[in-house]
Symmetry: C2
Amino acid sequence: MKTTRRTFLNAALALSASLLIGGTAFTQTQDPLPSWNDGATKKAIVEFVAKVTKPGSPDFVPVAERIATFDNDGTLWCEQPMYFQLFFALDRVKALAPSHPEWKTKEPFASLLKGDVKAALAGGERSVLEIVMATHAGMTTEEFNQTVKDWVATAQHPIYKKPFTECVYQPMLELMAYLRANGFKTFIVSGGGIEFMRPWTEKVYGIPPEQVIGSSIKTKFELRDGKPVLVRLPEINFIDDKTGKPVGINSHIGRRPIAAFGNSDGDQQMLEYTQAGGGARLLMLVHHDDKAREFEYGSKSSIGTFSDALMAEAKAKNWNVISMKDDWKKVFAFEK
Amino acid sequence: MKTTRRTFLNAALALSASLLIGGTAFTQTQDPLPSWNDGATKKAIVEFVAKVTKPGSPDFVPVAERIATFDNDGTLWCEQPMYFQLFFALDRVKALAPSHPEWKTKEPFASLLKGDVKAALAGGERSVLEIVMATHAGMTTEEFNQTVKDWVATAQHPIYKKPFTECVYQPMLELMAYLRANGFKTFIVSGGGIEFMRPWTEKVYGIPPEQVIGSSIKTKFELRDGKPVLVRLPEINFIDDKTGKPVGINSHIGRRPIAAFGNSDGDQQMLEYTQAGGGARLLMLVHHDDKAREFEYGSKSSIGTFSDALMAEAKAKNWNVISMKDDWKKVFAFEK
């Protein structure tokens, strides 16, 4: 019976811990960041959290102001060999092709349908925009939400052969949970589509839709068969990238973050804006230097460019560069 | 041992309950809505909250989905004899006049500076827009934030002779607190300026900046003396009124509310959109029918128009119309 009692006690404690925001006891007895190797990076995280949460500390920050923002592609989940949202768009082109016979001869769709992604994207930003508008607009927000949910439930990463939502970085999941356990509110601030992320971020990252900021197309209120819906229009509303990130943060949060995490030139202004608030700050950039377990790319990559200028700025401003190879014990939860 | 087990289970449950936002015990022993008269309206609120929070009820709604949206002008605070934001704008015109000698002969500023508000606003929307842009743009978001804070700390309502932030409806403060105590997340969805509200909503309403949605002008990321700032541009970004409210809700929350509160034609689509989600819903409109304690206005008012068509829709769709006169024991906390 002792076992039974202990089971109940453990269950009760686990329940309490999961209900509390605090979790101080937890952090004292157990490593909250088990997938992080000991070293300067992990130390910077733990020390930052300790000082901003310690009452009376000169760096103490009230709970309401503990805002942490995370880029998504390349920071929380993988972005190679192509942004995952592009895989979604390409799958949608295939699914919608029967209702679009004109696509057989119209670029970029014609190349795409022949399986030649490279040729399809040769037109650069314009091609991508055409593909996005053709696959992301013209339906209600609820229909799009369902389409994303269906895709996420079945589509697989071409290399890892896992659902895309499993190609998320285990150390970053731990970091977000650790911050939340210490009273932080975690937000996604991504160049990706806001409505492409919202259907799954709560389940995958523990981040509810109202804490997701991203790029968007315009929507319009309409009555369809007497029912109020929002229809997605083929018109850009907001690009949440580079200088757009501080704008998006101000628009959605209305408060300056005290911690920001990115991995590319697209995150530069978010980190600058976060740091400029004064007081204790945690600024980190994931560096993809792990050819064996993930990918190795940086200044020369067209996806997730981490330029030499950004690296120089990081050094000059004491931002932490996370080495996937050295700082992460494990990259993905599915790793052996 | 069965008893011990039960004790542990009970202890665990009690612990959980006390940690939860719930507070059922509180609501059973004390009226959470003391400024509301007993009657159909108060009953509708309490019954709605009871059914969506009762585990196992067919109307149960998980905490994460308990979203309630509130219009601000005329719903949470007074909007007479003029939208409070216009008082702010007029005060700013006066404060900025010394640096704008051209305003002495340029409308709508000339009339304003002579104290003739009516003549100044005779140009309708265009005049208002000119005043707003002249007073709300051209500075950083932080400078504007401080200007609003300073104004709120000193300006007084011309009739009540109280700070504008005290001209808030006591019953609505209680309603928001009651909803939050039952796991709801409360949002403002206002036609007013998002950055005009955020500096004070946390203190006055308990609503943090990230839960405030409103109209906005564009902002631009800039380095000023090497410091990253957001500059407010004289260009409309978004009008959060009428059909714009569901658009704003989708953009900022990404989830359909289950309760919505307004007071005018500007809130019609927000209530329609909320109701269309299916399941238990609470839809309410504040009706200003209290000449003695506040104001009496409705279908003929240019501010906060509550048209006959809206009243007819409310009746047809079983929305609750809150009579200030009959449903509210007290309107303002400062009332004798």
